[in-house]
Symmetry: C2
C-alpha cells in the first residue's frame, strides 16, 4: 500500500468511522502528518483526491474540512469527467439519461404548480421564438433543468445537468441540418410541456424518452466533433 493510499484511506476512515461529520474540520496538516505517518507531499495528494471527489474541501489559510456530503455534490464531481468520454462509449450513458429524464418528466407532471406552469410556458415560447443560435441551446438547457427542479430531486437535477452539458458540447443546432433539428426538437419540447401541464405522467414520460432517443439518433448519425474551447 503506497503512502498516498495510506493517507487517502486514513482520511476517508476518519469520516466513515464517524470521527468527523459533515462540515467539521480536520486536524492541521502538521498533526495529520504524524498521525498518518506519511510525508506532507503524500498527504496533500490524498487530500486532493478526496477534494476532487467532493468529499472534503481545503480553505487556504483556514484548514481542511469535510464537505456537506450532499448527494448532489458528489454527483457534481462527475461534471469534469463525463465531458471527456468519447462518443463511442456513450450510448450506455444515454440509456441512463433517458430513464432519468422520463422519470423527472413524469414526476414534474404529477407535481407542477400553476406558477411553475407559467414559468415553463414562457421558456417554451422563448425557445421557439429564439433566432440567435447561441441563445437556443441555453434556453433548451433551462427548460429541461426547470422540469428537473419541479420534479423535486436535487440529485437527479445535478446528474441530468451533467449529462446535458455533455450533449450540448456537440452543438447539434450548429450543423448544416441545424434548422430542421431545431424544428423537431422544439416540437418534442412542446409535447413534453403539454403532457406535464395536463398532469399526465405517463405521456410526459413517453415524450421525454422519445426526446432523448431522438437526440441519440442525431448524434449517431451526424457524429459531430466536440467543441473544445
Amino acid at each position: 500500500m503506497s503512502a498516498v493510499d495510506i493517507a487517502f484511506h486514513g482520511l476517508r476512515h476518519m469520516i466513515a468511522s464517524g470521527r468527523l461529520g459533515a462540515g467539521e474540520k480536520f486536524p492541521s496538516e502538521t498533526a495529520l502528518l504524524s498521525e498518518l505517518g506519511v510525508s506532507r507531499g503524500s498527504l496533500r495528494e490524498a487530500v486532493r483526491m478526496l477534494s476532487a471527489l467532493g468529499v472534503i474541501e481545503s480553505r487556504h489559510g483556514s484548514g481542511t474540512y469535510v464537505s456537506q456530503l450532499r448527494p448532489e455534490e458528489i454527483m457534481g464531481s462527475l461534471a469534469l469527467t463525463v465531458d471527456l468520454l468519447p462518443l463511442s462509449g456513450l450510448l450506455d450513458m444515454y440509456e441512463l439519461r433517458g430513464v432519468l429524464e422520463s422519470h423527472t418528466a413524469a414526476q414534474a407532471a404529477a407535481r407542477i404548480s400553476p406558477e411553475q406552469t407559467a414559468e415553463l410556458f414562457d421558456l417554451v415560447e422563448a425557445m421557439e421564438a429564439a433566432a440567435d443560435p447561441e441563445i437556443a441551446p441555453e434556453l433548451d438547457a433551462q427548460f429541461h433543468a426547470l422540469i428537473d427542479r419541479i420534479s423535486g430531486n436535487p440529485t437527479l437535477t445535478v446528474l441530468l445537468g451533467v449529462f446535458r452539458a455533455r450533449s450540448r458540447a456537440y452543438q447539434l443546432f450548429a450543423l448544416p441540418e441545424g434548422a430542421e433539428i431545431r424544428r423537431v426538437s422544439d416540437h418534442g419540447h412542446r409535447t413534453i410541456f403539454n403532457a406535464i401541464v395536463l398532469h399526465d405522467p405517463a405521456a410526459a414520460s413517453a415524450a421525454a424518452a422519445s426526446h432523448v432517443a431522438q437526440t441519440v439518433e442525431w448524434l449517431r448519425f451526424y457524429q459531430p466533433a466536440v467543441r473544445t474551447p
Copy 2:
C-alpha cells in the same frame, strides 16, 4: 487560478482537445513541468485528482496514461464516496436507485435467455435456503447484479452496484428483526424473479420499485448504524 488548477485543467485539456486519446501516454513529469509551468508537487496533485476521478492512471516506473475512458469506470469512482454520505441525505439517491432498478428489471424481463433464467433461479433458491447470515447478503447482491447484467448496460450495472454496496453496509439482516426482514425480502425477490421469467417488463418494473421502496422504509424506520470495518 492556483497552480494545481492550472495543472489540472492543462492535463484535462490535453484529453478534451483530442491531443491524447484513451490509453495513450502523457509526456514525462519533467516534460509536463515546463509545459504547464508549475512545480512537481502541484503537478502530482493534479495528476492524483484526475486519477481519483478515473480519467488517468499512473504506473510506477512506466509513465502516466489516459484511462480507457469507459463510462462504467467513471461511475466506479463514486464507489468510495457514496459510502460516506449520511443516511439523512440519502433518500434522493434511493429515488434514483429505484428508477434504475425498475428499468434494469424491465430490461432483463425483455431480454433474459434460458441459461440466464436457470442461473437466476439457482440464486433465488440459494438465497431462500441460506441459513448463514453472512452468505445471505452476498447472494442478495449477486441476484441483483445478475439482473443488472442481463439488462445489458455495464454503466448501469456499476452504478447500481455502488448504491447496493451502500445499502449492504447497514446490515438490515443483522437487526433483531432480521428474520422477518429477510422473509419479506425473499418474497420480493421471488416476485421480481417470476415477472422476469414470464417476460413481463411492466410487472418486473413494479416489483423492483416496490422492493427498493421496502428497503427505504426499513432504513428510515430502523436507522441502523453503519458497520465501519
